[in-house]
Every structure is written in structure tokens, then in C-alpha cells.
Symmetry: C2
Subunit: 457 residues, 2 copies
Amino acid sequence: MSIASAIQELSQVLGDRLSLSKADLDAHGQNEAHFPVTPPDAVAYPQDTAEVSQIMRICSAHGCPVVGYGAGTSLEAHALAVQGGVVVDFARMNRVIEVNAQDMDARVQPGITREALNTDLRATGLFFPVDPGANASIGGMASTRASGTTAVRYGTMRDNVLGLEVVLADGRIIRTGTRARKSSAGFDLTGLFVGAEGTLGLITELTLRLHGQPEAISAAVCAFDDIGAAVETVIATIQMGIPMARIEFLDGASVAAVNAMSKLGLPETPHLMVEFHGSTAGVAEQAERFGEIADEMGGKGFKWSSKPEERTALWEARHKAYWAVLSSRPGAMGLVTDLCVPISRLAEAVTAAHEDIARASIPGPILGHVGDGNFHSLLLVDPDSPEELAEAKAIAARMVDRALEMGGTITGEHGVGMGKLPYMRAEHGAAWDVMGEIKRALDPGNLMNPGKMVPGN
Amino acid sequence: MSIASAIQELSQVLGDRLSLSKADLDAHGQNEAHFPVTPPDAVAYPQDTAEVSQIMRICSAHGCPVVGYGAGTSLEAHALAVQGGVVVDFARMNRVIEVNAQDMDARVQPGITREALNTDLRATGLFFPVDPGANASIGGMASTRASGTTAVRYGTMRDNVLGLEVVLADGRIIRTGTRARKSSAGFDLTGLFVGAEGTLGLITELTLRLHGQPEAISAAVCAFDDIGAAVETVIATIQMGIPMARIEFLDGASVAAVNAMSKLGLPETPHLMVEFHGSTAGVAEQAERFGEIADEMGGKGFKWSSKPEERTALWEARHKAYWAVLSSRPGAMGLVTDLCVPISRLAEAVTAAHEDIARASIPGPILGHVGDGNFHSLLLVDPDSPEELAEAKAIAARMVDRALEMGGTITGEHGVGMGKLPYMRAEHGAAWDVMGEIKRALDPGNLMNPGKMVPGN
């Protein structure tokens, strides 16, 4: 009973769909965060649910850890096999199984990426709205409870997954949820597996809620003198009930990075960028009402448009912001924070983060999905400087403490992975033990993504 | 170690907040469904969370079952102490603890009713939108994952509870969730306790998402020749992205009952009643676009209004429909079905239910929250006729089978309780066992609402 004996049995079953090549192991040991490369012992490429179940039965019998893998875009090293074992890469399970246009739902396999899904859906008039920026896999997005720019309107993965097929630690295959839009038939297992980061089971199929492509879209951009005025504009817009599809904040440093890349020539002060989805008349009204609110709060240079080419120009900046900020310090690695606070505390949280970073030796532009109270700083560190990494971690830790004091969360959308594990007790208290009790009930051998998520694991 | 010894110790702690009076026991043994009166052994009225924790510690030590109780409006006998023990009535824990107007959230105790909460919120410009019809307690609504007429716009309790305080079986007090609007920090325990019907813990505090009172409301009513045309109108309205706040279906028999009570003089054919929330211009546009769609589908007598007195007249019928239908057969008891199917199957499901009822000896008007694919028939039986009850149960069972065949759920919003327990395996298959594993992990002594929810319990 060992990892080696599991691999031997797996290779008989999977043939060349079990990879032991150094290149493959190294690739699956990488991460977008700052954790050391940690290659697994093998990478499996199952082609259907039955095969995933077989993998779990074998690994369970041999006591071999199993870690799910999507597109590798996690920012918290979720998919690192820190206790060795087999990484299950869903690259070959990437189909749209069924689209039900009338019901506005679809069944998909976990390996399909967000962009591939939306390309597939284009002709149906429907789309899947959750947009974390990266072209992540849908299974990974569900496991991380991802969200992004559109959550303020369409919700997170929690809100857009209707049901799942899951393979449990012992190989059992279960289905959670139905195609009904709501249900009160028992424990919300769908909600439990969404965000569980593969520690309770492997997601092998998802039923997703789709949305109608909006008849019209308008976009607006507006500059502010300070963070407080920008955030007050967000609060007032929400309270007026104006339905925003996206509302993004960029601080002056982010705008500077974006200007350098996209030549937009925006003033290098805090900005809000907003998008509205609805009827032609509706989105015009919404943009104008937003403009009035921004104006009252001292916003400057407000402009809006519903013309596709102008909207694209306005939003290009935001879509490239992550890479623009990264390239603003050549060779730097980004340590990305991910706080979410009650919106009444957002200006205070962003300002305090800003002041921390201003005192530090490293840059850290701030941007975020402020309609949810969620913001990121991209702390740019020299990858060869342990001192800079330590400084960045200290700044990030202060931000986390402050978010918790404000009634917020240690991670709005990036998940726990390796990076947020040390803060779980601070956020959850005794409830973290309950997570451990659930984990032990469903995975008594601690084989599913071990070393993550729960205490003493 | 017994129920009797638990009660003895509880009475020392709680004094007159532990009731053994026959009237009290009988009242807490009643149910709105058709189950026999089942008085508990005692009723506790805790006044704070610490006291709930103390109750659980004592009951845990003595092996005494504990069942939570809100307003007693459950339609599936959730709060019946079927294995005896103590009912914990949250009537004295009914305060609003805190309203954060800027963040549009509130902390409340579980015993507050929906109407009392909204009365309290009136001056803030905010409201809590989930509306199951009955004046249920918020804790009960969360435990049942209730929804109602407004779920199509504002979601169910799943979507409107941000966090909880829960007392576990062993008396531990945990907090789930934060005041942030979203989080990806671990297992969604809030989602797990919402809808758990008190089988995993007792909810002692809730953080709720509030919404802005709409600037304007418009309402519309429209008659149709048949069920199919009404449902096609709903589907087209959803696909056009017209944001309805409520969309209710009433069949001809429901309209007849409502006419008899409210003297509305509507034609006794299928009807849709719709409400829109938004800006003045927005709700006018939405009502008119809905009218165009209804017209295309053969709708008749369409009228809409944004004047409060006219809206009230339009909606009065719907709000009284449950009682109107009940009183359409004097002395009858209602067995209320609660199916939810993918909307593409809704016309078929309603039509089939209609045909079943037409063949039966008992009446059963049908109405529902059709924007979610959720509908109810109120099967009206003579409470003294076991034959009629058996016939109603057989009709309800056929409806459940059909909903599952269509990819739907056995209960859209009423919960499992006693009535839906026999169908849990059919809906969930092996996932039902997983619910049992979670239950045993959190409540190894099976003390929390035993006899409900999970297999072999």
C-alpha cells in the first residue's frame, strides 16, 4: 500500500493516459503563486466519469493522494500535490454535454474552459457570465468558488452551478441538485462541493445556469480625486438599485500601468469603470443615472457609450490590467491579495492598504470588483529576493487582519489553497473544526487534496 | 440518561421558560399538514444563544431529542417531535440586533417573523424580499430554505442569508459566513445549515442580505385560454431578460375560488399575474414589453398599473389565493404539493397534474411561482375521510414521480419534513447517503430533529 503501488495499478488501467514524464510532472508542479515547484508522482488524464471513479478506487485502496487539476490558473496553488500522489488533469473531459436553451442551462464536463464554453454557446443567444479574468476551467472555477468582474450582477460560481456529478474518495459517483431552478429537498450538497477545492471529491460534471446575452450593453468610465469619492459613488449606485453588470475600481498606480500598456491617456487618479446590461433604453438610463451620481460625488471626465468599439476601448484597460501591472515592474512576480469587506468599510480598507504599500519598498497597485467590496493589490516582488517576498507577505497579512476586523473575509474569490490556509482559524474560529469533521466524514483516509483546507490535515 | 432526566435538569436552568403545560405541548404537536398531533415532552423558550447552548449540552448529556420551532407555519410538519423530547421555541429570540443600511444587511434573531422584520425596516428604505406567503419566522424560513413569490427576482433563503450563528448538537456555538458579500474561504457552511431543517444544529442568529425598496412598482394581469400559452409567455419573458419581481400562475379553478372570495370577476381561465420593480420608466417599459409578449401568445384582457390602489386590487387575489382555495370546500383540509421542474417541462407537468385531478373525486386548484418552474396544487380533502386522504397522497406521489422524470425536484420550497422523506432516495440516489454521513459527523447521537431528513434515521 503506497503511492508507487497505486501508480503501477493505475498505469495498467489507464495506459498512456497516465503520464510519468518529467516534463508533465514539472508542469503540474508549477503554480501562479510563490510556492516552490512541487511535481506530483504521476498525472492521470481520465476520459470519462467511470475512469475517474476507477482512479479513486485504486488510489483509495493504496492510500495514494489525489489532486484535481483544471487549467492551472489558481492564484493560491490549490492543485499542488504537497503530499505527493496523482494529479487528475481534466483536459480530456472538456465537452459541452447538453445545452437546454429554453431552460437556460447546460451540462458540461469540468475541463472545458470558460472561453471555450462561451464560444460554444454563442449561437444560442445565451452565455455563462462568471468571469474571473483568466481562461480557467469550469471545474476549477466551481472548486474555487470563483467569481470576478460580473459577480455584482450575475453572482459567483455558488449562484451559477445548479448541480454536480462528483466522484467521492471511495469511488462512489453521486449527483447533486437537479435541473430545477430551486429546491428545498435536503442538504445543499452542490453548495458544499462548490468551493471545496477538491478536498471532498472530484467534480466530473456540472449543470450550469446560463443567462441571455444582453440586448444592449453600455459602459462608462469616470475619474475621482480620491478613493473615498469613488467608493461613495459605488455605494450610492447600489442603494439606488441601479443594476450594474460590472463595476471596477482602479487606483492611480493601476491606471498608470494600464496607460503604459494600452496608451489610453487616462488621468492617473482613482477610476471607476462600469458596464450595464439590459434593454437599449434601460442601459442608456442606467449609464446616465450613474453619471449623475458620480458627478455629485465629484467624479470627473465621465463618459459613457453603448457603441461596441467605444465600449471595447473603455474596457480594454481593465481586461489587461493584471498583465499591465505585472509588466510595470519587469521580471517581477505578483503576490495577489484578495480581500472582501462590507462595502461601508471598503474605502477605509483600500486606503489603509494603500498607505501600507506606500510605506513599503515594493509597488502594489490596487484594483477590484468594488460592487462586492472585493479588491486586490498586486504586490510586485523580485522573485530572487526573499526580503521582498517577506515584506509582501507581511503587508498581505496586515490586510487580512484588517479585513477580518471589518467583518470581511480572507479571500473573496481566489480560494484558500496554500496561501490562505494560515488564516482559516482567524476567520472561522470553531467553525473551522466543523469543516474538518465534514472532511473526515467524506474522506476518512485524507486522500483528496491532502494538506489543504481543514485543520490538522 | 433519558428524556425525563433531561427535562428535570432543564427545568432547574430555565425555570418558567420550560413549559410542561398540556396546552403548550398540544400546540407544539400540531402541524399544518395531515400528520397526527404529536406533542413533545417539553417546550423550552430560550432567551439567548448561551441558553440554547446550555439546552443542547444538557440534552446531549441525557440523550434527549431537540427540535427547533419558529412560527409553526411549515407545510410538511418539520417541527414535529416524532421521537419525543424538547421543542425549542424561538419566540423570545425575536429581535433585530443590527441594521447596516450602507451595507444593506441586518443581523436578526431566528424568532422574528418576516412581517415584523419588514415593519422594522420600513424607515430604512430597505426590505427583506423573501415572501413565502405565511408570516413565517426568519429562522424557520432559513431552516426550510423557503422562497415564494419573489424568488424569481431576489432568490430564495439560500441567496439571502449571508451568515449564521449556530448551536451544534454538543452545545458548541459557531459562526458561519461574514458580512462580506462573497467569499471563497472554505466549505460553505452557511449554505449547509440553510435547508438542514434543524437536523445539524439550531440557528440562533442570521445575517441577512437586504434590498432597496423599489422606486417604482408596476403590476399586470393577463388571462389565457390554456396553460401552455401562459407558460410560453413566462419562458419568452425570461429569455428576453425582462426582470420580473413576481410572476404567478393561477389555473381556472384557482381563479374561480379567488373570484368567490375577492369578487374580482376575472374570467375563470388560466391567468398570469406579474410585478415589476425598478425605476418609474423601467417598470413601465417592462410591463409594456410583457404585455406585447402575452399578446403574441394569445393573452387576453391584459392590463397593468403602477398606481398603488390598482396594484393592490390586482394582487389581492393572489395573496388570498391559498385561503380562497381552502374555503372553496368548507371544512376541507389542504394537502399542498410543491413541485419544481425545468421550465421547458412546466406546461406538461401542470397539464398532467390537471388531468390527474380532473379524474379524481377531490378538487385540487393549481397555482404557482412559475418563473422558477415551481407550482402547487391544493388537494382539498375531507379530514374525516381516510379514502380521500389516500387518493390525495396517490395523486401527489404521481406528481412527484413525474417531476423527477422531468429533471425536477420533489420540493421547490416547502422542504422535506415528514411529507417528502419517502421520496428522498428517488431524488438523490447515493447522494442521500452522503447527507447521512454529514449528519452523523455533526450529530453522532442523532439528537437534532431525529426521524427526519437522512436515511435510516
